[in-house]
Point group: C2
Chain length 336, copies 2
């Protein structure tokens, strides 16, 4: 059986280009004992993938040129050599950018199509939602009334962070990259305020205006000059969760910025990098709580879809350029 | 009764100069109820004082031009309007750079001259020792066998940090500014290794060589390029205590350096600024433990003395230039 895959064709230097990817036809291998064959329905494209494309030591090994692009997938079971899965079941897999994927059954999370939209298991009810949940609640630990600032606020993670902070009784300020996103955050998601950093003449002045009591918690998806501005407005004992640094991922060498450790010192602030994978043993309880908020209408989300596996590279490039509102997904095949 | 004081004469721009200080003669005010008159025996000079000399918002209010220089003092009681203190008692006070100081009795810590050298209450058995103790044990939280790196390692705080880390079973690497200091750290204090950052051709390479298993805990007194080198060698879940940033205190604007948040992210590291004043409610237990280590010879310390109140500015400038080994103190009057 023929399979279509999207491979890493070249390590990007700076911003990735379409030519850094390659569509490839190959024969599917035989299914082994305990394995499941899935047809991809939705692919997740995420900022972390930029890191895997580089030959840099990080928390995960880099991809090699010629590898199938990694990533989370919602797939439909076509064949199963494991008693836990049957034809037609849906599952979350980590089979990457390909039409068909083979996974050990134990690495799959079975999905219930009756429980909610399947795509949500790659957004609010999946890794991005859990990232928001644990990064905010375990790293930032906001107390009622404290001011929470989120960068990348209209993304899959940031949009959930702000809403959970609101549910915890915190004023929330979102930083995003378009007026339309700002409108979505304030009019639909209930952020107290938000602004477009691309058109604000002075990020620091704007933040100072919106955060009149200073900043207690900062959930950082972006880094760079936006984060510099936040550091100048921290309150004593501020907590900063480093979730992403998307402004830095295409740098070919470390960007220079104002040193921030003196600010961390005088504010006795805590800055912590975190990875959602360290929280997966607590995911069940978190998803139960998030599911409750969704059903009660207290948590909203949006997904931006790009159609066709061959357009996954374009979707990824669009994600790095902020073309998504909420979660960026590739629709590979229709749901049945 | 005449008093001699050292005042802040001008806010330094960049590195402080002797002309930023002024020796001043004044009349001592009357002693009020509940107050104690002390003759200074030892003055503490500390890096934090550089911050107070600038008109910059920090955790404490800045000094004003014309104010007596702030600081900790060991003094002898000359007169007391409080039943808790009598003539000849010794106390730790915060009366600053002057021959005689008046303090509310409740702001004094009474010292027992039989318990150990009086000067130690401004070094190992005082604020610097407690800073080392809580910064290492509560912020860095080293586990047995983890690699601990200390910058400013031959200073009043750093020299104690390294020894406590050794007591906790950790390999310790010290970074200091002279070969003599390096020798003291390794030959007398038991640091596993140390190096002179002023003569090492490449701090990163040197650290990488000395920390073959990476760096788990970093106690930072210095900041700047030394700290940049440490950030490149962090292990997953590293803890970094920001105690001081002495390399930055004379900057007239924020120095640029490589952005460090991506490293914090991929290493899921925690960077925390701390102030010893937040731990003073636990000081008693800490001093009991430190006193035990001192008596058992497990903890050693050194003090660098400068004689004469009028030389306090020179002592302070020397401290900022790293001329001290261990704690820098000014001897104002002889012990009796």
């Amino acid at each position: 059986m023929q399979n279509t895959q999207v491979l890493l064709a070249a390590r990007p230097v700076g911003a990735p280009k379409l030519s850094d990817f390659r569509v490839f036809q190959t024969e599917l291998p035989e299914l082994k004992e305990g394995e499941v064959l899935l047809e991809a329905v939705y692919l997740s494209v995420d900022p972390y993938m930029r890191g895997r494309m580089s030959d840099t030591k990080s928390y995960a090994a880099p991809m090699q040129v010629g590898d199938v692009m990694v990533g989370g997938v919602v797939g439909r079971v076509l064949r199963s050599n494991d008693p836990g899965f049957s034809y037609g079941d849906y599952a979350e897999a980590f089979t990457g950018w390909q039409h068909y994927g083979i996974s050990a059954a134990k690495q799959l999370r079975k999905l219930d199509p009756q429980a909610g939209p399947l795509s949500a298991s790659l957004s609010v009810m999946g890794i991005p939602g859990l990232t928001a949940y644990f990064g905010l609640l375990d790293v930032c630990k906001p107390k009622r009334g404290e001011t929470v600032v989120v960068s990348g606020a209209a993304g899959a993670v940031g949009s959930i962070v702000g809403q959970i902070a609101r549910l915890k009784g915190c004023p929330v300020v979102g930083i995003a990259g378009s007026d339309e996103k700002v409108k979505w955050l304030t009019k639909e998601l209930g952020f107290d305020s938000a602004f477009n950093y691309k058109t604000a003449p002075n990020t620091h002045a704007k933040l100072k205006d919106l955060c009149s009591k200073g900043i207690d918690c900062y959930f950082d998806n972006v880094g760079g000059t936006i984060t510099d501005a936040v550091f100048g407005l921290l309150n004593p004992n501020a907590r900063i969760a480093i979730c992403g640094q998307i402004s830095q991922y295409n740098n070919t060498e470390a960007e220079l910025g104002p040193r921030n450790l003196s600010q961390i010192l005088v504010k006795t602030a805590t800055v912590r990098g975190f990875l959602v994978m360290h929280y997966l043993d607590q995911a069940r309880e978190a998803l139960i709580e998030m599911g409750g908020w969704l059903r009660e209408g207290k948590l909203k989300y949006r997904e931006t879809f790009v159609d066709g596996l061959e357009n996954a590279p374009a979707a990824f490039l669009g994600l790095l350029n902020g073309e998504n509102t909420g979660k960026m997904l590739v629709r590979v095949a229709p749901e049945r």
